[in-house]
Symmetry: none
Amino acid sequence: MAIRQKVLVADSDREFCDFLSDLLSECGYEVLHAATGEEATHMASSHCPELMLMERILPDIEGIKVIQSVREWSLLPILVLSEPSEEQVVAELLDSGADDYIVKPVRPLELLARIRAAIRHTRTVSGDLQFANTGKIVIGHLTVDFEKYRVYVDETDVGLTQNEFRMVGLLARYNGKVLTYERVMQELWGPNAGDDNQILRVNMTNIRKKIEDDALQPKYLFTEAGVGYRMVSREEAAQWK
Amino acid sequence: MAIRQKVLVADSDREFCDFLSDLLSECGYEVLHAATGEEATHMASSHCPELMLMERILPDIEGIKVIQSVREWSLLPILVLSEPSEEQVVAELLDSGADDYIVKPVRPLELLARIRAAIRHTRTVSGDLQFANTGKIVIGHLTVDFEKYRVYVDETDVGLTQNEFRMVGLLARYNGKVLTYERVMQELWGPNAGDDNQILRVNMTNIRKKIEDDALQPKYLFTEAGVGYRMVSREEAAQWK
DNA sequence: ACTTTTCTTAACGGAATCTTAACGGAACAC
DNA sequence: GTGTTCCGTTAAGATTCCGTTAAGAAAAGT
């Protein structure tokens, strides 16, 4: 069963909560329910939901207080669902950290779209606009960081050049598979690359100097005679210890 | 020489535009105006505004088309201001990349708060609390204030120009990640930016002069050879002292 | 209209990087 | 043994890249 995103609903109106529960669970969210402000504050910290929906006025505490206290430690999206109210009130809520103010009666499709938009904002780690190569690959003592464009051995930057990094990155992504010289050439020098792989040998020498203890007995970068290069897979490396 | 954030307003209703212009410029925004969808698309890419407000229906193109075409290259916040409409329509707009849908007649205080919320979202990189509400990013002795549009070193304004600020702001938001030259060019000069990054080098020199003690050994702004620039992450900076 | 600031482009020097050539050893075939 | 091929290594020349300065154009302020 797929892992579902948790949504915390804070509202004292039992009927409305049930309505939201049905709507949200149908869309694959796991719904938690809090009837009071205190409960909401507590559950937010204990369950760490992906998103929070709340009434502006709760039986015990003003919703704005809940927002403020959650915002002391978390940026999870908070959408306020409530009756129409003075614009000052709405502005205050937003400025306190609410991400949206939605007027009741709620329109289901719009609510769901606003939820998606709010979640999207937290993901918008400012720009997956184009990069598929995010994150890091860790292989033994080696870390290939595609965000910093760097390679580390035990936390220390080994200072690869641009082409060196591209070569290591390429091999690392293929996780133990062999890449032919031709393939590497094309990846790095484009479709018009020559067929002299002298340049690869030079790069490989320089890379090994930087990341291998002993270039004669490499731990990470292997030559497959007559074929190409490969890097140890993460699984192999994980068993080293 | 006040440095102001640019807001692009796309609406064919002259009177409403004037109303927004007055409201926004009073709050320190610089207002640009587009009467048609084509104009809006074009101005977005040529002026690179910080934020965009638009009517759902423009004389020539559907607003949603404008959103889609802007979203191909930028994540700038887009708020749709329009008449009440079917929830499906609202949902579609939000799913296409709009950040909010605000019903006319607009309530000024609420609009401004929603604008602040939208701008706040663009900076919410990788869950960092500090600026949930404040609108500032603090990195070591450096403070990047997105509301005043200024950068301070130890409380004193270093007087960055507009482009300089945008560059620093962009890098600061990415919190330690490398931004390629190409990406920075696009963010600052739009999708039609040339591929000569000479302009970036000049800006970087000038910025470093203003915020670094020693431009040869920068503490904040690093060059990743052959790739782009990056700014120290707040986590790294927090460990300095 | 004038001054000042900001933006953009060009030119240059030094450093880092890329590329090519040359050499040497290992493996293999004959 | 000899020759050949393949791969690693080194070094040197060529090239690219980056920072810097300066000057003219454009924009903003007075």
